[in-house]
């Protein structure tokens, strides 16, 4: 009697998860993700010519069908340089944010989990890192390790992880007081089991949102460093460097600076809107 009432099988409480037709904005988001993946993985398929090929007879060609983004002062095809540069610009941003997110998550979770004096020490270290102006820090790294993409990468990771550490620490602090964690303790779960099964998975949503938003931020920061000469060095087709080189003749060949700039803008915008989309979709399953 009681059984029939409470154990009624059926899908009345199940949330419907039937596949729906994707909206235009979902299609657009998917297409940009695919386009970025293609830029990173198979630039050779997309670029019409060799990004390092010099041809002085073709210098300063405006955008045409043969040279979509025109050519630069050495006659190199700018579109091909932008395509090949994605690896440096987007690729490095992905490495920066991935490293920062992984390290920051582990660091913040450890601080919250162990608490007490260790937590206080760990979080003061975070404060110190957050207090650094990133340009000054990047210049210091470049000065000691030499200019290059690696120095820029190290500087950005060093300054990016603390925000993840702070966010994850806050989440873990509230999660470990949750009922389901208390229940897991009474089941005899060990500290690592509780963290792995019941605490960290609940932080992934927010980490993922911030990760995606940060990809755009990191791209701006990295191209900015390269633009200032603290990142990639010539002849790398890194985007910030492309714009920096082109600014000398920006008045005669506008396309050499403006079109790569538009690409940086569009890619950043796409990462941001992707992050925003994830944030709005957020919440537990």
């Amino acid at each position: 009697m009681t059984r029939a009432h409470t154990a009624a099988p059926g899908g009345d409480t199940r949330r419907s998860r039937a596949p729906r037709r994707p909206t235009w904005s979902q299609l657009w988001a998917g297409a940009t993700v695919l386009a970025i993946a293609a830029l990173l993985l198979v630039p050779g398929w997309l670029a019409p010519s060799d990004p390092y090929h010099l041809d002085v007879s073709q210098r300063f060609q405006p955008p045409t069908a043969a040279h979509l983004f025109g050519t630069d002062d050495a006659g190199r095809d700018i579109f091909s340089r932008v395509v090949h540069g994605a690896r440096y610009s987007i690729g490095t941003s992905v490495v920066v944010v991935t490293a920062a997110a992984l390290f920051g998550t582990v660091y913040g979770a450890a601080a919250a989990w162990f608490g007490g004096a260790l937590d206080r020490v760990l979080m003061r270290v975070v404060d110190v890192f957050l207090a650094f102006p990133y340009l000054v820090f990047a210049m210091a790294i470049s000065a000691s390790l030499g200019r290059g993409l690696t120095s820029a990468l190290i500087a950005l990771v060093a300054l990016w992880w603390p925000s993840y550490a702070r966010m994850v620490r806050g989440q873990v602090l509230s999660l470990i007081k949750d009922y389901h964690v208390r229940a897991a303790r009474t089941l005899g779960a060990s500290g690592p089991q509780i963290l792995r099964w019941h605490v960290l998975p609940h932080t992934y949503d927010q980490v993922l949102v911030r990760y995606t938003l940060d990809l755009g931020q990191a791209l701006i920061a990295l191209t900015g460093l390269s633009f200032l000469g603290l990142g990639a060095q010539p002849p790398t087709p890194e985007w910030g460097l492309l714009i920096a080189d082109a600014k000398q003749y920006a008045l005669t060949a506008w396309w050499a600076a403006v079109l790569p700039g538009c690409v940086v803008f569009l890619v950043t915008l796409n990462f941001m809107s992707l992050g925003d989309r994830l944030r709005r979709r957020g919440g537990p399953r």
Binding site: T2, T6, R14, T186
Partner: protein, 329 residues
């Protein structure tokens, strides 16, 4: 009951919480005994310290003084090193069944978790054990694939009970386990607890603010007020012949309204500052005397038959009026 050796013994437990200058004695000298297969009810209003007792028994808090013994061995010893044997022998069922399960894990995973932690089963054996446990609490095995928020509160509490039973514990600590449920579902879950006790002879420490629930389930009961035990004994004896005015108040407040009878004195909604000396219940007690306000009463036997284990902590148990419900006309 008294002839068997106790499963769990609490002796003079004390726990004080401090927050800055404030100190709250959540548990003051609580002693109680649970025998194998026995259901002990623990009743009291919110703030009486009953949930702290649960946390102490579950090892989630450490007592400031006193001792908990499980099968004669001190808990402090059982929890250090390989505390896992105790963790599998004593399981908990909490108030909010949905919150007590991880929202990101399926119900089946949650039920399998204790088996994973204690490496009791894996693979196909694990799956069949989960299905068996769901059956034991009268749930459809298909619920294993749902998430906690996709099932009803009653189903979720059954799933929690299934999880608690996975390791075949000798003691279940049920902290307000039916309080968050609908009245009709409450009755079903209470019957499930009785069924478990009869079939698996699992002992239970059943904590609730609702006296009728405890009365229905418990073999013996303990009434707490302001962190201390005010009355304890066999459920029948305590409910039929309560000796402490607070127990009377609890019983009086849970009876159905009857225009002929007026309740003893409605429990004050405002939490008055508890006295620091004498009987903590004195400010609310109709029988309080000067002695009640100065001396702390001790728990002493009140049973009509010698050795009945019915005891109350009150200076006025001699008042004959207490043989009948205290009423004001």
């Amino acid at each position: 009951m008294a002839v068997t050796s106790p499963l769990l013994e609490l002796r003079n437990l004390r726990k004080t919480f401090t927050a800055g200058p404030h100190a709250v004695a959540a548990v003051r000298d609580v002693s109680l005994t649970i025998h194998p297969g026995e259901i002990v009810g623990l009743v009291g209003e919110s703030g009486s310290g009953k949930s702290t007792v649960a946390n102490l028994v579950l090892g989630l808090e450490r007592p400031d003084a006193g001792e908990i013994r499980y099968q004669g061995r001190p808990l402090a010893e059982l929890l250090t090193g390989s505390g896992r044997a105790y963790r599998s022998a004593v399981q908990a069922v909490f108030q909010d069944p949905v919150q007590a399960m991880d929202s990101r894990k399926t119900v089946g995973w949650s039920i399998a978790e204790p088996l994973l932690i204690h490496r009791a089963a894996r693979g196909a054996a694990l799956r069949s054990r989960v299905a068996e446990l769901l059956g034991a609490v009268h749930l459809d095995p298909s619920l294993a694939d749902r998430y906690p928020h996709q099932i009803s509160g009653g189903q979720a509490q059954r799933a929690n009970i299934a999880r608690a039973l996975a390791l075949e514990p000798s003691l279940l600590v049920c902290d307000e386990a039916v309080s968050a449920l609908d009245v009709s579902v409450q009755a079903q879950i209470m019957n499930l607890f009785l069924e478990i006790q009869q079939r698996l002879s699992t002992a239970m420490l059943f904590i609730s603010h609702a006296l009728p629930v405890v009365r229905h389930l418990a073999d013996s009961m303990v009434v707490m007020y302001a962190g201390a035990v005010v009355e304890q004994g066999p459920t029948e004896a305590v409910c039929e012949a309560p000796r402490h005015p607070y127990t009377r108040l609890l019983i009086g407040s849970s009876l159905p309204p009857d225009p002929e009878r007026q309740p003893v004195r409605p429990p004050s909604a405002r939490r008055e500052a508890l006295p620091t000396a004498g009987c903590r219940f004195a400010p609310r007690c109709v029988l309080a005397t000067d002695r009640c306000r100065s001396d702390d009463p001790v728990l002493s036997e009140v049973g009509s038959e010698v050795g009945s284990a019915h005891a109350a902590a009150c200076w006025r148990t001699d008042v004959p009026a207490l043989a009948e419900p205290v009423r004001r006309r």
